[in-house]
Amino acid sequence: MMNRIFEIDGERYDVSSIVDGEISKRGDGACWFYNNEGSHFVWMVRDGDRIFVRMNGRTYQIDEIDPRSMATDGAAAEDTAKAPMPGTVISIEAAPGQEVRNGEILLTIESMKLQTQITAWRDGVVDEIHLAEGDEFDRGASLVSLKGEEE
């Protein structure tokens, strides 16, 4: 069951996505929140994954956290990128030990006259580049690995 994760003041909360209550929005930010215990007049606005609430004379900022951005249970994301098809390594843009950002280019391969950039699939540190410039490879060959994620 999909839970939702929110962070308030640095604390994370894991909640069920089934909510006890309803909200009725006026359109300008004013809302009434109702549940079995009663109703509350609050001001609420959401911008992307950031939620601002003013309730009972206090202002709160709540961030919704994408559960996928949190480390998963041991069975971590793939650490090695494999070749989607046979080809040649055109250029290598990263080095072992280098810190890379999600989406940063690691190497470029060419196949069937098409060049593909292999980019980092998450923030991390490059563990090993398995091939050198000019190397040929088959489908499924390991290209580059990122260091495994720690909790």
Binding site: M2, V19, G21, V45, D47, D49, V53, M55, T59
Partner: protein
């Protein structure tokens, strides 16, 4: 002296809007200048005309004196109001404005120069029987300065001569920190004001910061419009100000007024100005500085005197006369102003940026809001983080305090972090309620002023609201149809 028909406001934000209001009331055409970031700002919309300006930085645009004067000439303005900050205490600008044949709504350039330099200001003050705290100036001789500073004793306050607002200021508790802090202050002052000149003065233990509003006709006549209490400060930035000053012995109040007026007269002050003092717990007060411009917190004076200070500035600029005498000034009631800043008061007061998604200023009885932003505006780090001033007025301090509290509670600011909750905690603190505080207030009650922990009920409601606020990365399932929804978790 001639009637002013059109005024260009060399400023932005809330003060620009506030000046436009008075210009409208006086039927004087208004011209605004704006950097593209301010194109949608309320003051630009409110002004009769607007001229775009540019600069290396957004703030820099508003310091382009020549360009601004050109804009005034272009639009046929006959006067420029400099507001506060920016070019308001720039003597060269004041001269340039008058040289261009325009009226500078403010003091003469020489007064600006005199009071703009902390050292000349203090010298002048001393010559005119204005009490001063023991101090020494850093001339070229660092060693002599350090020696004299040590002689004054600790704790010591190092201040920039060329400017204020907390920049170039350092508190030195012990002798061994002196040299490091002096060089820190000097470099900060150099960066902020282009002038690293410093002076050191004895730090009065937790003094109160009291200032007096004065008006002068430029001929040597001056009156005061009462004093203001500005001790609630953080890092020398004022947060809450009030008028009149609570719990001030009548003799002291009179003495401060008289001293301020005396100084204004001595400078043949023209226009509106503020003389700032430090008041020690022993009742002794010392001259701090004189601000030759309108102050941010001027509204509290306006509320208790019923006098529009911007209108007074314009009247003095037009006629060269004060249209009132001291006896005409009646003080009624009490006013308190709280400054709403885009900053995270719970995390080191770091400036905050973001879209002002929901902004509902308070509208209660006795509440005045001088705001510079409207809902939907993007608060950026380009400019000063002050969003608005919330001013509450009442027939007595108790009423004003209650109205301020209610106004703060009513205010809604969502989308960018603001100090609204912090202001509410300040305004309801027992020491504030009693009117007994000094500049050490925030530091002293630091733990009281921290936000309370959230209670469980509120937390649950918040989380429920968060779930209902939108779908999040994984959209929740659509609701079950009937009759399933009504059966809940039934199992056979």
């Amino acid at each position: 002296m001639a009637k002013i028909t059109k005024t260009l406001i060399a400023n932005r934000g809330e003060i620009a809007l506030r000046i436009v209001r008075t210009l409208d009331a006086l039927n004087i055409a208004s011209v605004a200048v704006y950097h593209p970031l301010d194109a949608e700002a309320p003051y630009v919309e409110a002004a009769g005309e607007a001229v775009e300006i540019e600069g290396d930085t957004p703030v820099g645009a508003y310091l382009q004196g020549e360009r601004i004067i050109e804009a005034a000439k272009q639009t046929g303005a006959d006067a420029i109001h400099p507001g506060y900050g920016f070019l308001s205490e720039n003597a060269a600008f004041a001269e340039a404005v008058e040289a261009a044949g325009l009226v500078f709504i403010g003091p003469r350039a020489e007064t600006i120069r005199l009071m703009g330099d902390k050292i000349t200001a203090r010298t002048f003050a001393a010559e005119n029987d204005v009490p001063l705290a023991p101090s020494v100036t850093l001339g070229g001789d660092l060693a002599a300065f350090l020696k004299a500073a040590k002689e004054i004793g600790f704790p010591l306050l190092i201040k920039a001569s060329a400017g204020g607002g907390g920049k170039g200021m350092q508190i030195v508790e012990k002798a061994d920190e002196l040299e490091t802090k002096v060089s820190l202050a000097a470099s900060e002052a150099e960066r902020a004001f282009g002038d690293g000149t410093l002076y050191a003065e004895k730090l009065v233990g937790n003094p109160r910061h009291i200032e007096v509003q004065v008006l002068g006709d430029g001929q040597g006549n001056a009156i005061h419009l009462g004093e203001r209490e500005c001790s609630i400060q953080r890092r020398f930035q004022k947060i809450i100000e009030e008028a009149p000053v609570p719990s001030l012995p009548p003799k002291t109040r009179i003495a401060i007024h008289e001293t301020a007026v005396g100084l204004a007269k001595a400078t043949k002050y023209r226009g509106a100005g503020t003389v700032e003092f430090i008041l020690g717990s022993d009742g002794a007060f010392y001259f701090l500085e004189m601000n030759t411009r309108l102050q941010v917190e001027h509204p509290v004076t306006e509320m208790i005197t019923g006098i529009d200070l911007v209108a007074e500035q314009i009247s003095i600029a037009e006629t060269g006369k004060l249209d009132r005498v001291q006896e005409d000034i009646i003080f009624e009631g009490h006013a308190i102003e709280a400054r709403l800043y885009a900053e995270d008061a719970d995390n080191g007061f770091l400036p905050a940026t973001g879209p002002l998604l929901v902004f509902k200023p308070p509208k209660g009885l006795g509440v005045r809001v001088d705001g510079g932003v409207k809902e939907g505006a993007e608060v950026s780090s380009a400019f000063d983080p002050m969003l608005a001033k919330l001013i509450a007025y009442g027939t007595d301090r108790e009423t004003a305090v209650e109205r301020l509290r209610a106004a703060l509670e009513e205010t809604v600011c969502l989308g960018v972090t603001t100090n609204i909750d912090f202001l509410a905690r300040l305004a309801t603190h027992p020491a504030f309620l009693a009117g007994e505080y000094d500049t050490g207030f925030i530091a002293k009650y630091d733990s009281d002023l921290k936000p309370e922990a959230m209670n469980k009920v509120d937390l649950e409601i918040l989380l429920a609201i968060a779930c209902l606020s939108g779908k999040g990365p994984f959209a929740p399932p659509p609701p079950a149809p009937e009759p399933y929804a009504s059966m809940g978790e039934w199992r056979n």
